[in-house]
Every structure is written in structure tokens, then in C-alpha cells.
Symmetry: C2
Subunit: 212 residues, 2 copies
DNA sequence: ATTCAATCGATTCTTTGATATCGATATGGC
DNA sequence: GCCATATCGATATCAAAGAATCGATTGAAT
């Protein structure tokens, strides 16, 4: 069995490897070398080899890795073959867009239902998912052993919602609100923040123009 | 003038500092210490101080940083006060959602127009932004000196679109397609990839259950 | 059969970011 | 006016990630 914990940056690269390997489908490529992957993705080949060592065991000199095998191993490692249930809180524009997004099942994410504080949207559906009142959140999370919570509420309510989720057994929070969430040890917050991306873009442009 | 280039991880934290400082508005807090910021965001205080040193010059012992001043410096550093023009390619569901999003101006991003290959959506509008045919892309980018391109096309067309953008003078690409983009030296690609976030969430849960 | 080239995997080195420590400074209390 | 304390800023230590090197292995070519 391959090694356990991997670094976050490795984790960022793994989906890229997987996607690249899948994109090769058309051609008759039974084996792929770490060198080839590195070349295609603009990475160092030994980084790729080290990353793959964490998820795979196969890898033959002069040949490379079996493509189909490696794809399966990556999918397994990333949990694509083992769906996780999640619930979403905040059925606003963004929340409803996520509810309608059809790509999640392929990544192993299954949104069971959504919750909202506004009684007018409760009872309605979006993307085939029911939108329920907040009062039912805790009960459903506990009953279904939900471990993933998606927060798409306005910033001022995010912490309160987060606390409620954790109190109901959620261990990983996907936070789309642009506020920092305080969570106890052992709970993960993954922030999805456009301000961060824009900051990186903006900074790049500034550097480009100030140094050149 | 504060130091030049900052690390990417610093850049990720800066918007959080800014947001936290802004959230203090209500109270009569003229000065904020790095220690207080660190505490609120769950960071080490010396990290905060080092990050702030890159964007600010003020900072008095025993007192802290002037809040309004620091906010202004952060906003300036992050480019919020100096709007950048951008264009968007791919007026699908996600593309149109971004066109309608009203938060961009506050982050210093101004989407001029969108482009799409489908003649049926060309000529229509979304969020007050015109959707134009691809043929006009290059001309508009050059004429308006657009430096930021947002890619929301399906993966199979992303590289082609990216090449066209760069050819038209774009220096920073915000990529929502889940494919790796090859770009020449000096051009930045910022990937916005849900697969990556989900991988991190999934991995956390796996570790939680395998080690405990 | 032997040699050569490609590739993997392990070890080492370098760079970078995070944390800890220390002195300097300014404010408030005595 | 002096001292204690909070805070900043700089320096040094530590950890982790990336890059380079090197030996080992395998398949193909001669």
C-alpha cells in the first residue's frame, strides 16, 4: 500500500495528473512515464514521480506507469470512487448554481439537500435537491452521518452556520463566504475565495509592469 | 515604500487581513495590533507582522497599526483602487454567472465584454455586458490594452482560447476550465478548479478516519 | 549475449516559508 | 520622572518542499 499523508501541494497536482492521463484516452497509450507527465504539465519530473509514489506502487523503468491502472489509483486516492454525502447551506444565487452543477458526482460528491433561512425558498427544489428550513439541518446531518458542509451564505452568517454544521458532526467545510471561519482542531475549512485569486492576478500584473 | 515582491502564501492571507480590518468598522478601533489580527484569524503573530511589513510602513510599538491607514494600504496593494479591465471568453452557465456578479468592481476588476463561439448567444447581453463573436476578441483586447482574460469555455477549447488571448496581449489568465494551460514565460495562469478543492476535502476526511 | 538508453526510486542539497527569540520603542501607571 | 508592559521589527533557527544527482532496473538494439 502506498504511503499515507501527502502534502497539500501534492494534493493540488494530483487532479491535474489524473485529468491529463484521462485526456490521453484517444491514443493507444498503455504506458505513461513521469517524464512525459511532467513535460505536459510544465513540472519537474522528479516531483511527479514523488507525487505518484504516494498513490501508486507500479512504475517500471524504461516503461513508465500503466495508464489505466494509474488512473484507477488516482481516482481511488482522490475518493472519486467512493461518494461522500454533503449538505449545502444558503440557497442564494451561488448556492443554487452549485446545486444544479452536474459535475459533482464524478468527483465523488453527493449533495443530499440544501438549507436556507428564508421561508419563501424552503420547500422549493433546485437541481433535484430539496431546500429545507434550517431547523432540520442538525437532524438530517446526524441521521445521514454527513461529513461535508458547503457554506454559501452571506459572510455575516457564515460563522454561525459553520458552528451549527460542526455541532452536527460535519468534519470538512467548503466555505464560499469570504470570511475567516474559526473551527476546532480536526475540522478542515477549504476556502473558495475569488478575492484571493484576483489578488494573485493583480499582483502579477503589478510586478510585470514595475520590474520590466 | 514597502518591499516589493511577496510570496504567494502572503498574497493569500492579505485579503483576509483586509476583510478582518473592514469588519471592525462598527467599533471605535483606531489601532489594531498584529497580535490581534493573528488571534482572530488563527495565525502566528509574527507571520502577520511580516506580511504587513510588505505592504505597510506604519506600525507603532505598544499601539499597533492605524486601522484606516492599513486598510487603505492593503486596498492599494491588492489593486482595489486601480481597476483593471478584463474580458471573458465562454458565455455558458458559469460565464454568465460571472458576468452578472456584482462584486468584481470592489475588487478592482472590470469586465468589459464577453466572447463566445456560438452565434446564437452573440449579440445578447448578460449583466450589462455585451457578448461578442470570437472574431472581435483580438481587436478589442489590443485596442483597450486588456491584460486579464477569464476563460470559462469547455476544457477542449481552453488552450486555443488561451493562446488567442496571449497573442492579443493578455498577461494574466483566470482559468475556470479544468485543464492545464501552457503559457509562455511571464504570463500567469490562475486556476480555479473545484476538483482541487474537493480533493483536499476528501483527503482530510480519509485521514481523519484512517488515523483515528 | 552484450551494450545502450530510458526510466524509476532513493539520497542529498538548496531554497523557501514558518516559528522562536531578542532588542528597541512607545505608552500608561506609579 | 521612572518603570512595567505591550508591540514592533530584525535576526536566527527549524521544517518542508522542490531540484539535482546517482545508482539500479528494464527493455530494445546490435
Amino acid at each position: 500500500m502506498p504511503g499515507r499523508s501527502v502534502s497539500k501541494q501534492t494534493l493540488v497536482r494530483l487532479p491535474a495528473y489524473l485529468h491529463f492521463l484521462q485526456s490521453l484516452s484517444g491514443e493507444e497509450r498503455r504506458y505513461v512515464s513521469a517524464t512525459a507527465v511532467a513535460e505536459a504539465l510544465g513540472l519537474n519530473d522528479v516531483v511527479v514521480r514523488k507525487d505518484l509514489a504516494a498513490v501508486s506502487s507500479a512504475g517500471r523503468p524504461k516503461v513508465g506507469y500503466g495508464r489505466a491502472e494509474l488512473i484507477a489509483e488516482l481516482e481511488h486516492f482522490l475518493g472519486y470512487d467512493n461518494s461522500q454525502d454533503a449538505i449545502l447551506v444558503g440557497a442564494g444565487k451561488l448556492g443554487r448554481a452549485l446545486l444544479s452543477y452536474e459535475g459533482f458526482p464524478q468527483y465523488g460528491l453527493n449533495i443530499l439537500a440544501a438549507f436556507d433561512a428564508d421561508p419563501r425558498v424552503c420547500g422549493t427544489e433546485e437541481g433535484g435537491k430539496k431546500i429545507l428550513p434550517m431547523e432540520k439541518l442538525s437532524n438530517l446531518c446526524r441521521r445521514m452521518k454527513v461529513r461535508i458542509g458547503i457554506i454559501t451564505v452571506p459572510g455575516e452568517h457564515a460563522q454561525k452556520v459553520c458552528d451549527a454544521l460542526i455541532e452536527s458532526g460535519v468534519l470538512a467545510v467548503w466555505n464560499f463566504a469570504s470570511v475567516h471561519l474559526n473551527v476546532p482542531e480536526g475540522v478542515l475549512v477549504q476556502n473558495e475565495n475569488m478575492a484571493v485569486s484576483l489578488a494573485i492576478l493583480s499582483n502579477h500584473l503589478k510586478e510585470r509592469f514595475s520590474t520590466k
